[in-house]
Amino acid sequence: MTAPIDVVCGLRVEKAGPLALLQDAGRFGVRRLGVTQGGPADLHAWAWANHLLDNPWGAPVLEITLGGLELIAEHDMTLALCGADLEATLDDKPWLSWQVVSVTQGQRLRFGSARSGARAYLAVAGGFLAEPVLGSVACVSREGLGGHDGHGRSLAMADRLHIDRSCQASSRERYVGRRAPGKERIDYREPARLRLIPGAQISEFSGVSLFAAFNRPWHVDSRADRMGVRLKGPPLRCRLSTMISEGIPLGAVQVPPDGQPIVLLNDRQTIGGYPRLGTLTPLACARLAQCLPEQEVWLVAETPQHAQEEYRRFRLRFDVTAVPGAASHR
């Protein structure tokens, strides 16, 4: 906080993977212009990656989807890795998720393929540095906004990520070896119970469909990305087919005419016109974002009050100081 920022290149891309995007907490306040929120698909692992390094809420973290990425350290630095097990190695030695390591100049960080979960979060002490676009670093490829270059691109060969050198040396002794508690290290291979706040057009669905929605397992389809995740199961029947488009919140469970629900995530379009069962909680969205195709998930009804309490407990853990209001959120 006190030392001036000393910007240096921290990591260089040696080999690009399928998708690696810089994400802060998201882009807020501009959704009325058709700009989506972006931000981490798995808020839980993203928050822990920052928290292990005492980074402030919202510091930009690299979201690595399905591995395949190779990075070279161009400086000594302190890193935290949370979320999916993507067979990460540091100079070919296994690097376990949910902990802090110190990396020296020239070391190679390599990600293999997804063994558990889909997305890993790599944080650096002080956060990765990038120019905010429309108030945020959140990288949304479809909109060409944010990320390391400001234009929404995924990390490509020879791209560089910048860090604050002044944060690295002091953080090494303090944080190396720090780990997230066991109960936070989620086994993403287990069936996921996704809490859903019923609402929207739920009363327009048939009784049989409502029973099926909450009492049968669903399976994650291969059509899953940062816009949304499609679920496979018994087709749900709704008396409405399409509606006048309206604003769509994060986690909205929409059901197009084929009866297969789509859970809308961070990069969704801001408005939509399919009937919805309700809204997943933010932590349920986070959990779903770690599910690989064919994984089993269950929808579990939840009250808004309980879901809000759960979210507040989650957030208070990361806001060491008193809640400063909306400012911390943006």
Partner: protein, 240 residues
Amino acid sequence: MTRNLRLPRLEHAGIDAWLVRLFDEVDEANMPWLTALMRRCEAMFASTLIDMVPSYTTLLVHYDPLVLSSHEARRYLESALRDLVPDDESGSAEVKELSVWYDDSVGPELKRLECVSGLSRDQVIEVHCAREYRVFALGFAPGFAFMGRVDERLAVPRLDTPRQRVPAGSVAVTGRQTAAYPRQSPGGWNLIGRTPARLFDRHRDGFSLLRVGDRVRFVSVDRVEFERLGGDTTPVEERS
């Protein structure tokens, strides 16, 4: 146009949002009510307001769930709705004009509109330019404004096969709506021309040229004027 607001419905939209349902039908007259409610919400929620998404008949209001409970947010909305009056329409609100070069090379579906409407080329253009449209919603992409309502003679359905690449600035119609594409993207609307206007610009104050509730008129310009205004004359590529 002094109709009263029927009882708006408030629907849960997750842990941090309420959806306010004001109307059941699409109507230009909805929009001054929606913009008035947005201004009230800004005043009422102040720093606890995270985002708002107005759209045709509804307003989605996101608040900070660390500060407000769902009940408190509902109470704010109820008081914002109390005695709501629509934004004043008496002439002060400007009409935004979008210059359009209507031509087959940048508007390959002009022919389709001629066929469907039975109008001549000039009449199609005249009819599209004659109305003052309202922005009902922004969505699909940053700065993409859904406007209406288009004269029913020009109402044609979406293309059966959407284009992979619709050029930036393309002016399009589908059903009773019209729009302009802010940047190159896939799209299934009928292209009838192109505007040189920059619809979305990250460096401009406010970013988007158009906002929900705006009044918009299209103005036909020739190729020379289109180019003078900075328009790109690259033809729309054939659909594959």
